[in-house]
């Protein structure tokens, strides 16, 4: 109590200087909190767009399918697996996919295409593919009136093959049994943009592609969407699967995207570190000045029986109180901008393309992390820069200190 009383009164003693220090630290907190909010919010938004585009949060494949894909490396009894995983905690949706490299033929042109078999209902619940249909309609499971299965086709492939809605698309591939697979499909929708992931893809329903490739209850990929992207790694690690199957989080599937994002994040943290360093220098200056001009008093305190440890604690406590008050002020100042960034966001005049995923709004994040990290940084750096003046005051010989003034 004695220390607290002394610390408070010492802070209030030079009100103008304490106020300036408080404002400087509050400014530091404000900058850190808003920048972390922007950074975390933008990355989180970007990851959500990226994972919702086609990757999902976790994928399951045959053991080495990701590095050496092959038509025969399938997940068997896939319906049972999908149904099982659907019931797991934190799972939002699950879908399976079949991949087959093919040759697409339309009118008088051929072009290589990636044919992807999807479950229209589950895929729509897992990714944003349905929203990317630019012309026509979303895929259906059944056959069209003409007796052909419907197909969604990427916009680039449609342009290259000079095909449009209602046209016939001929696909030639290899069946899983080694036979030649070929069939006619009716284009019911054109999907994506010239830069998007699906530009050269053809989407068929699972029923259509299984018939086309002579497959049974098999798939090449199971995609899982969770309630939050941060659960991807622990979920993939905890997933119990047959020995020939592997679960990988989106960070592993899209490793280059993840790594470039991590590097970008580190760059941001370096900028934040520079801000905090500058704030710390200001705090060091204030604490050092406040300590040096009270050298005589510290000498007196020691002379009349105050332990060196208590003198040390007094200076640390003064800094701590000032830092804590700064964080509270900074938090109040940062609340409105962070709230605005999180729930309204900054709309950019032109959308930014990140790995084929377009986003036009910069969103912030409002979380304990965003508020606590700047507080820990401000308080931590303040205490750190206070150590030297506090040690100096604690170690001073009373008579030298009293002669200093």
């Amino acid at each position: 109590m004695l220390l607290l009383k002394l610390a408070f009164r010492n802070i209030l003693r030079n009100r103008r200087r304490s106020l300036l220090t408080l404002l400087s630290m509050s400014g530091g907190y404000f900058l850190l909190a808003t920048m972390i909010s922007m950074s975390e919010g933008s990355y989180s938004h970007m990851i959500n767009l990226f994972t919702q585009d086609h990757t999902g949060h976790v994928q399951i494949h045959y053991s080495d399918y990701l590095t050496r894909p092959s038509l025969n490396k399938t997940i068997n009894n896939v319906d049972e697996l999908v149904n099982n995983i659907s019931g797991y905690p934190h799972v939002k949706s699950v879908t399976s996919r079949v991949y087959a490299p093919s040759l697409a033929y339309g009118k008088n042109k051929t072009f290589p295409a990636q044919v992807i078999g999807i479950d229209p209902k589950r895929e729509a619940a897992t990714t944003l593919l349905e929203l990317k249909v630019k012309q026509g309609q979303w895929l259906s499971n059944g056959m069209s009136e003409s007796g052909y299965f419907p197909a969604l086709i990427g916009v680039s492939l449609a342009t290259n093959l000079n095909l449009g809605l209602g046209d016939e698309l001929i696909l030639i591939s290899q069946g899983i049994d080694g036979s030649i697979a070929n069939d006619i499909f009716i284009i019911t929708g054109i999907v994506g943009t010239a830069d998007s992931y699906e530009r050269n893809n053809v989407y068929l329903s699972l029923g259509a592609i299984k018939q086309f490739l002579a497959m049974h209850d098999q798939a090449h990929e199971v995609v899982i969407a969770l309630d939050h992207q941060s659960r991807a790694m622990p979920f993939a690690d905890a997933l119990k699967l047959p020995q020939n199957l592997n679960a990988a989080p989106w960070q592993k599937i899209e490793e280059s995207f993840y790594k470039s994002m991590q590097v970008d994040k580190k760059g941001n943290y370096i900028s934040l570190g520079v801000i905090m360093f500058l704030v710390s220098i200001g705090v060091l200056n204030t604490v050092l000045m406040g300590t040096m001009e009270r050298t005589r008093e510290f000498g007196v305190l020691k002379a009349i029986g105050t332990r060196p440890k208590m003198v040390f604690m007094l200076i640390i406590m003064e800094s701590f109180i000032l830092a804590l008050a700064s964080c509270i002020v900074g938090m109040l100042l940062a609340f409105a901008p962070i709230y605005y960034l999180t729930y309204i966001g900054l709309v950019m005049p032109e959308p930014i393309d990140m790995g084929g995923v377009e986003f036009q709004i910069m969103l912030g994040e409002f979380s304990a992390f965003v508020l606590l990290v700047p507080a820990i940084t401000v308080i931590g750096s303040t205490l750190l820069v206070s150590l030297f003046p506090a040690l100096k005051a604690a170690k001073t010989v009373p008579v030298s200190a009293m002669q200093a003034a």
């Binding site: 009164r9 009349i304 332990r307 060196p308």
Partner: protein
């Protein structure tokens, strides 16, 4: 009577070689419990240095200081702080009160360090403030007090925890002669009432007359030790 202060070949030197200054040179004195002693001498004779070394505020160059049968020259920083807190009361020329504390809080500061209960602190503060004539000034900060009142607070602070020794370095130097004399009379009265050992330095002849023992220093050496 038992000795409460004993210095053995106590020396304090500054600088070295040609610039060596012997502020105190092999001083041997013994002060008994309850004595009211003045250390006198011209400026630079070593009065303040002697009081600082006796109080453990400075490090000795050679020799020992024995207070209450304990050699304080061997003590660590924390031991010395605790010893000063429990055994020595200081009165400084420049008062040296804690500016952010009121008169009452300044007086009870040492008792807070000692962990004395709130009731006991209150009782002792009331008593000592009445003794030194500070009744009614408890809530005033040092800047709201006159020099004489500040020095009374300093004396009250030094005495309130019942230390065995009170060291006062020119306590009247910043006061007018009337206030100075009144303060010395008060110290003398407290010395008689409480049987505390008072050692103070001065170069004021009128103040010297109040002392029962006068130790004279010159060039860091004791040149006279006179008991009335």
């Amino acid at each position: 009577m038992t000795s409460v202060i004993k210095t053995i070949n106590l020396s304090r030197h500054f600088g070295q070689g040609d610039t060596l200054v012997k502020a105190l040179d092999e001083v041997n004195i013994t002060i008994k419990k309850g004595e009211f002693t003045a250390i006198i001498g011209p400026s630079g004779s070593g009065k303040t240095t002697l009081l600082q070394l006796i109080g453990g505020l400075d490090e000795t160059s050679a020799g020992n200081v024995i207070l209450d049968d304990k050699n304080i020259s061997d003590m660590s920083g924390q031991e010395l702080s605790d010893f000063r807190r429990d055994h020595i009361g200081f009165v400084f020329q420049a008062y040296n009160l804690i500016p952010v504390l009121s008169a009452k809080e300044n007086i009870e500061y040492i008792m807070l360090l000692q962990g004395v209960s709130a009731d006991e602190r209150h009782r002792r503060v009331e008593h000592i403030m009445a003794q030194v004539g500070l009744t009614g000034l408890a809530s005033r900060r040092p800047t709201q007090l006159s020099g004489g009142q500040q020095q009374r607070v300093a004396i009250a602070r030094a005495m309130v925890s019942n230390p065995s020794i009170i060291l006062a370095d020119e306590p009247t130097a910043n006061l007018d002669s009337r206030t100075g004399m009144a303060l010395i009379d008060m110290m003398k009265k407290l010395n008689e009432q409480e049987q505390m050992t008072f050692v103070f330095s001065t170069h004021d002849p009128k103040i010297m007359e109040s002392a029962r023992r006068i130790i004279t220093l010159e060039d860091g050496r004791v040149v006279d030790d006179f008991v009335k």
